[in-house]
């Protein structure tokens, strides 16, 4: 048998190793900052780039794409080379992948706090960074597929399937959801509007969870759990069913984020049905992971790595049971828009992704530096800090979520809302926000302990030189007699990739095609007109400040909501909304009817409220926005914005670009005059003026003209 010598590239694993640790601590620190800002809004020091609305996307992006992303690549580069018995296809591509990914993260660190955002959750980064993400992602994919093609192992282990499906699906999701037309280098408008934008976004958002936070981590679980337990995977058959069922089902479930919204009922039901079905493969995978420890449970008591992995997989089981439950309409009516969803998400990220990553880091460190782990005791301390931190984090948030939902819906015997003022409901939650911050502190402290332990481990050892490995060359793949198709397909990576793509693309196509081609899905409303230039500029400030992170614009058809906010939201009201701004969480009240009826407030109220929310709503936890009162807007991009909106289908007249600024000024002067009547002196070009115009516009589309 002809043997070939080759070396694994451990340097790239070490690079992603440290990136995972550093970005993880960064994400947790930003998260703790946000957790403190809720009960103590002054914690942003009245600084624009530290406000909750701007930092929240940084936290989510750092946790998902920086911490988990680097964790995926670290785990992949170590495992894939060994499972494929081959060095990476191209060291240059590996380096491009690493430095490109870190550059993208740094770009996010600077642009998101600066207010450069698309306002689409987990896809907030603006178009130049979107393009960079696509290119770097493809660089990883090419490197992966090249390594698979030149491998010396005929069969592809199940972990590799999960990596392939991650690559192909995330590429598809990112590209489709990121279609946007640039206005400037830092500003673009989504190609889609309103209901369609919402469906595409949550098809992406849900599957970012599925194919970024789940499938690659299942790949890591299937490699590192057997390694850590020194036991083969419990059932390889189950892993095959797990893989194909999971990737087929996951992609359909996105609309469960839009229950009771203005999306068509058929799409919501589709999301619910597939979400429920997801329990089966998800729990199949969880049980496969836990049962891999059969015969090794005695070691779980002593080995912190196994402890991390057991709690991680259990968290996966919890969140994948809870997700389908939250997709039931009656359950969702309570959990949606509340902190319940935030708790659910954090069981997944802190528990499943976080703890599995920590376990892998502790497993890898001695192997990458050819030494022993500096301190098993400190690893145990980290385990308990992380586990207790998670408990202190999520339990108060579940409590908060249920409390919120119940008090929002509480009526007195006369049929009136018991808590008509939204702020009253918020104030009930403040003690639990402090408890959450305590949990976050524990979790962050644990990760700092890990950093110390890993640095000491690395210093005690030496980076091992790339090991020289011998393996027989891969012979041309020939099907054996009686060999079934799956063995045929999993030995051929390109057809496998194509089949995985078909499996994930079907769900998206079945949901999108009717939504985009059947007119009746979005009935038009004759009184809904495009935003005026001033309202459009105000909407962009609303987007820049991240208001959507705390305020929804979607009144669900419940009496408790129509009583509080007014008429429920209609699909036709959003046809000019590029992007949609429905939001997913109500830390503050819904704003969709802010400009209508009993919710409409004087211009001066908004002016004073943005300057200091507590001056108008004592006890409010909203940040202050004094810079909106001071900063002027030169509106230099207004003509381009009008032009881009027309390209997107918004019916501005041809040549309106030339008239827009004059119209803007007229409307702005009207607001300035209103403010003057209330004793406020300001000028038409201040940012606050356009924001007031936008807020006063909200919900007026259904009023008779």
């Amino acid at each position: 048998m002809e043997m070939e010598k080759f070396q694994y590239d451990n340097k790239i694993v070490r690079m992603f190793f440290w990136a995972t640790v550093i970005w993880g601590i960064t994400a947790f620190t930003v998260g703790l900052t946000l957790a403190l800002q809720l009960p103590a809004p002054w914690w942003n020091f009245s600084t624009s780039w530290l406000t909750f609305g701007r930092l929240r996307p940084l936290h989510t992006n750092a946790a998902i794409f920086a911490f988990v992303g680097n964790g995926i690549f670290m785990g992949y580069y170590y495992a894939a080379q060994r499972l494929l018995k081959a060095r990476n296809f191209s060291d240059t591509l590996s380096q491009i992948h690493f430095w490109g990914w870190q550059t993208i993260i740094l770009a996010a660190v600077f642009t998101l706090p600066a207010g450069l955002t698309t306002a689409k959750e987990y896809a907030e980064l603006e178009w130049p960074i979107d393009i960079a993400i696509a290119l770097i992602w493809v660089a990883w994919g090419v490197n992966m597929m090249g390594t698979i093609i030149k491998r010396r192992e005929k069969h592809l282990y199940v972990a590799i399937w999960f990596f392939i499906s991650t690559f192909v699906t995330v590429a598809m999701l990112h590209i489709v959801n990121s279609f946007e037309i640039p206005v400037s280098f830092g500003k673009s408008y989504s190609l889609y509007a309103g209901v369609q934008d919402a469906l595409v976004q949550w098809w992406y958002g849900h599957n970012a969870v599925a194919f970024f936070l789940t499938t690659p981590y299942l790949g890591l679980m299937y490699y590192y759990m057997p390694k850590a337990a020194q036991r083969p995977v419990y059932s390889y058959r189950l892993s095959v069913i797990h893989f194909w069922s999971l990737i087929f089902l996951y992609i359909w479930a996105g609309p469960h984020h839009l229950l009771y919204s203005s999306t068509p009922d058929w799409a919501q039901t589709l999301g619910t049905v597939f979400s429920l079905m997801l329990i089966a493969p998800s729990w199949g995978g969880m049980l496969n992971g836990l049962l891999t420890l059969r015969g090794a449970w005695d070691r779980v008591r002593q080995d912190p790595i196994l402890k991390f992995m057991v709690v991680a997989v259990s968290s996966y089981g919890m969140s994948t049971f809870e997700g389908p439950m939250m997709s039931l309409k009656n359950y969702n009516a309570i959990s949606h828009f509340t902190d319940y969803t935030i708790a659910h998400v954090h069981v997944g990220t802190l528990g499943w992704n976080g703890l599995l990553t920590f376990g892998i880091l502790y497993w890898l460190a001695p192997r990458l530096w050819n030494t022993k782990l500096y301190s098993v005791k400190l690893a145990n301390v980290h385990f308990w800090l992380a586990t207790l931190g998670m408990i202190f984090w999520v339990i108060p948030m579940y409590w908060t979520g249920i409390t919120q939902a119940l008090i929002w819906k509480q009526f007195d015997p006369e049929g009136m809302l018991v808590y008509p003022n939204f702020l009253e409901t918020v104030l009930q939650l403040v003690p639990m926000y402090w408890t959450r911050a305590f949990g976050g502190t524990l979790y962050l402290t644990g990760s700092l302990v890990m950093l110390y332990n890993l640095i000491k481990t690395a210093r005690a050892g030496d980076p091992i030189p790339d090991p020289v490995i011998e393996a027989p060359a891969l012979k041309p793949i020939v099907s054996e007699p009686g060999e079934f198709k799956h063995r045929w397909i999993e030995a051929r990576p390109i057809p496998f990739l194509a089949l995985a793509f078909v499996a994930v693309a079907i769900g998206g196509l079945v949901e999108f095609i009717p939504m985009f081609v059947v007119k009746s899905n979005i009935p038009t409303i004759s009184t809904v007109v495009p935003y005026t230039p001033l309202e459009l500029e105000g909407r962009d400030i609303y987007i820049r400040e991240g208001c959507v992170n705390c305020h929804s614009q979607m009144i669900r058809p419940f009496r408790s909501e129509t009583e509080r906010y007014g008429e429920y939201s209609k699909a036709g009201e959003y046809v000019y909304d590029h992007p949609f701004l429905w939001g997913s969480k109500r830390t503050g009240p819904d704003l969709h009817r802010e400009g209508v009826g009993k919710l409409r407030k004087p211009d001066a109220w908004h002016y004073n409220h943005m300057d200091n929310p507590r001056s108008m709503s004592p006890g409010s936890i909203m940040p202050v926005y004094p810079w909106l009162l001071e900063d002027s807007n030169d509106y230099k991009y207004l003509p381009k914005k009008i032009s881009v909106m027309r390209t997107l289908g918004v019916p501005y007249e041809e040549g309106y670009e030339d008239q827009a600024l004059a119209d803007l000024k007229v409307q702005a002067e009207g607001i300035v005059a209103n403010l003057k009547d209330s004793g406020i002196e300001t000028t038409w070009d201040k940012e606050i003026i356009s924001l007031i115009a936008y807020l006063q516009k909200l919900g007026t589309g259904i009023l008779p003209k």
Binding site: Y8, A79, R82, L83, K85, E153, H155, Y157, V158, A159, Y222, P226, K227, R231, P232, V233, Y236, R237, V240, I241, W244, F248, W252, S262, P264, D265, W266, T269, L270, V273, F274, M277, D303, I305, Y362, W363, P366, R367, N370, T371, K372, L373, V376, A379, I464, P467, F484, H486, R487, I506, G507, V510, P514, V518, S520, N521, P523, P557, K570, A571
Partner: protein, 63 residues
Amino acid sequence: MLSRIYPGAEGLAFLQGLSLILFLLVFLGALVMIFTMRKGYIDKMSNMPLDLEDDQSTNNGGH
């Protein structure tokens, strides 16, 4: 109430049935796959992460 919001969209209910049929086909296909796999193949794949050279050359972790 929802039928008032989406007049004419009821015809799309067939999508729910279609999607379930598609999944059933994928699931049955996967079932056929796993029950026709040979035991030798299953054992080899199950043990794949364990019988790798990397542990011989790099494994002296101290946990």
